[in-house]
Symmetry: C2
Subunit: 159 residues, 2 copies
Amino acid sequence: MAYHDLDELDEKILNLIVNNARIPFLEVARECGVSGAAIHQRVQKLMNIGVIKGSEFIIDFEKIGYETCAYIGIFLNNPSSYDHAVKELEKIDEVVECYYTTGDYDLLIKVYVRNNHDLLSLIHEKIQPIGLARTETLICFKEAFRKKLPINFTKEVEK
Amino acid sequence: MAYHDLDELDEKILNLIVNNARIPFLEVARECGVSGAAIHQRVQKLMNIGVIKGSEFIIDFEKIGYETCAYIGIFLNNPSSYDHAVKELEKIDEVVECYYTTGDYDLLIKVYVRNNHDLLSLIHEKIQPIGLARTETLICFKEAFRKKLPINFTKEVEK
DNA sequence: GTTGAAAAGGGTCCCGT
DNA sequence: ACGGGACCCTTTTCAAC
């Protein structure tokens, strides 16, 4: 089932719940003018088809001691080592996101550490030993903003 | 109030709820061996001090038609234009994250678009007109994984 | 800061349409 | 696929410890 089979109600529900996972479904129901059971069914459907992958609380990692966030571009020695590198990177707690990329790097990862000193240790003692060609680090010293893509698949937006 | 004032119970609660915003607090209470009211109060406190910034449903954007994700490194013409650039970038729907960075770029942003064609339009028609020196695009053609940092602030982990 | 209980409200399921 | 309703569990509040 693709998103083409989803309708305006699915879209409205998604936009209502995406920024607040704790919103009561009955409130969503009232907003949408349908019953709570309908919302319940729709959300269930959206989870079954994988459009909704889960929910999470958003934590301010800076406030709990992880004051350094960085992106690290990774160059692999050879293409065959992709899977191995990803598997090893996934084992490292501090690595929270990992992408296959085109362009300069082979992989791009996002990491959280307590401070710059820990960043260096992380790279030297955990990331480099995996067996990469080279890495390039980009420290994020401030998150300017973070927001959600408006969900919109029923009518294409005009350019 | 800093994270140093948080205790093992706060830590345990955070680890239990961070990957499931819909978990009943009573279930958390049972896991932690305290009352539901205690969990309720703790979560309230964690929100008040900003450790919990909110909650969200995790959407698979690929499944709703946004098949291209990219990071774009931005070079500004001059340092004074930081704030203006950030303000303008925030207005663009497709830009979902923005960081001040050290290293090669001045800013790093994350964008979601429907396809590569839309990525080009986005850069040429919305991002470049803000008045930047140059941009460098890095397309993520697959998210290898995404996970959460284990929350751990009571005892420092040994290296 | 935590508890237990009470009141209010939401989640879930089943059946009828 | 949706609505109504029943049942049960959860959220939220508050007095008391």
